[in-house]
Amino acid sequence: MLIEFKSDGGIAYFPGLNRSKLINTDSLNNEDSMKVKELVQKCRFFSISYNEVPQRGADRKTYTITITDGDNKNTIRVSDPVEDEALAELIGFLNKLSKKV
């Protein structure tokens, strides 16, 4: 499973954190790999569709995620607050993983 994760915006722009990160589950340790696959499944990533630009507010983060897994591929874009808790959980974990990538 190949995950492209980009977090943009927030109260400050950090060049190091806003880079697009490529996560290949094959190169993760077993625990992280299992966890991320579980979260992708839990939020039904390949059947959700988000492409939202909030009309009001400031300092929100926007997340762009593309996941490819065999024949399955989907891209979503979503901004804070991510009210879909299963998706929020995936984003939280990708945030964590992307610090290591």
Binding site: G9, G57, A58, A88, E89
Partner: protein, 367 residues
């Protein structure tokens, strides 16, 4: 929300609800009433909505007490590490401190920010019409951010690895509340130069709130945004520096602070809504230069000029740096006179960041 952008407009005194009534709904209302109160707050937090809601809910329970402007109305909600906007009200206006530092910092920080706007500019909350202040704490899991969603100020706990909790810096709380003020007065589009001005306004007011709390003159202030926020692992001192943009951090994980301090280094980018948190360094530094050159407390003169500019009808939603700079000069002249120390300081400040101003130009703008 206020749509009257006449610079001389003052809001009429609205009768607003007593905090006692709201508190009694939250504390003693039925679960349905309580939920409805929270939903009402979440969807339309103006007192108009609250009044309608309360009159409907409490019909026949006696007269509604009125209070006057100058009174703040804070509600702190614990999101319990979810991203949902519903949550538990953990501290209401007048309630004693809790044992949760994030709750107390949000409550106190919103309070100081309200007091700053009221005592210095006679502004009655975000919309100058007494809008209740809602702070959400413990938003998300290890969430490294704070934001304004158009109605509420939301703060994450930080991951404790790169960042501490986002309520820890008073100027960050002031920054978020000020986004509401800017949205109400000018509606500066959150993109490119107008967006960078929107960001800069929040840093300017956020920093002044901190200076106000510390009773600091502009020469004593650190002019940093979020100085308390970075963990010890980060090589840096803050999110941004208004006095020396680009110097706040240089770290293997965060990267290097990308803020320019002069138009020569203006960053053209599609990232970050067109660099709103990047190019804000330029107007931030202009404010710092104006305030320190004038001297004294930043809010007395430079802050007054910036605030009056924010309320100026000619500050359009898509205003760029040059037009904004001209309007600050115009307002410096209007408030302190042609050729005044203040006008000179403001002109010089913009000059130093690479923006040539003209006092004649804004006078020709259509009102």
């Amino acid at each position: 929300m206020c749509n009257n952008h006449d610079p001389n407009h003052r809001h009429s005194i609205h009768c607003i609800l007593s905090p006692h009534i709201l508190r009694s709904i939250v504390k003693n209302g039925s679960p349905e009433q309580r939920q409805k109160a929270i939903t009402t707050l979440a969807n339309d937090s103006t007192f108009r909505a609250l009044r309608n809601f309360t009159n409907a809910t409490l019909a026949g329970t006696g007269p509604v007490t009125m209070i006057s402007p100058g009174k703040k109305q804070r509600t702190i909600i614990d999101a319990k590490n979810l991203q949902s906007t519903e949550g538990k009200i953990v501290r209401f206006e007048g309630d004693p401190a809790t044992d949760d530092p994030a709750v107390n910092e949000a409550y106190d920080g919103l309070g100081v920010t309200y007091d700053f706007f009221w005592n210095i500019f006679e502004r009655h909350s975000i919309d100058d019409e007494g809008m209740p202040l809602q702070g959400i704490v413990h938003f998300g899991k290890e969430y490294n951010n704070a934001f304004w969603d158009g109605q509420k100020m939301t703060f994450g706990d930080g991951d404790d690895d790169l960042f501490k909790r986002f309520t820890i810096s008073l100027d960050v709380i002031g920054h978020e509340l000020a986004h509401g003020v800017t949205e109400d007065e000018a509606g500066l589009v959150y993109f490119n130069q107008a967006g960078a001005l929107n960001e800069s306004m929040s840093d300017v007011f956020g920093s002044m709130v901190k200076q106000y709390k510390l009773n600091q003159t502009s020469d004593k202030a650190d002019w940093l945004i979020g100085a308390e926020l970075l963990s010890d692992k980060i090589n840096g001192k803050a999110l941004r520096s208004m006095s020396d943009p680009g110097s706040a951090y240089d770290d293997p994980v965060l990267g290097k602070d990308p803020q320019p301090k002069h138009m020569d280094a203006f960053v053209n980018t599609f990232e970050d809504n067109g660099g709103v948190h990047i190019n804000s360094g330029i107007p931030n530094r202009a404010f710092y230069l104006a305030a320190t050159s004038i001297g004294g407390f930043s809010w007395e003169r430079a802050g007054k000029i910036w605030y009056e500019t924010l309320k100026d009808a000619r500050l359009r939603a898509n205003t760029g740096f040059k037009r904004f700079a001209n309007l600050t000069v115009y307002n410096a002249v209007r408030l302190f006179g042609q050729g005044s120390v203040e006008e000179q300081a403001v002109q010089n400040a913009w000059n130093e960041v690479g923006i040539k101003t003209s006092v004649k130009e804004p006078l020709q703008y259509a009102h």
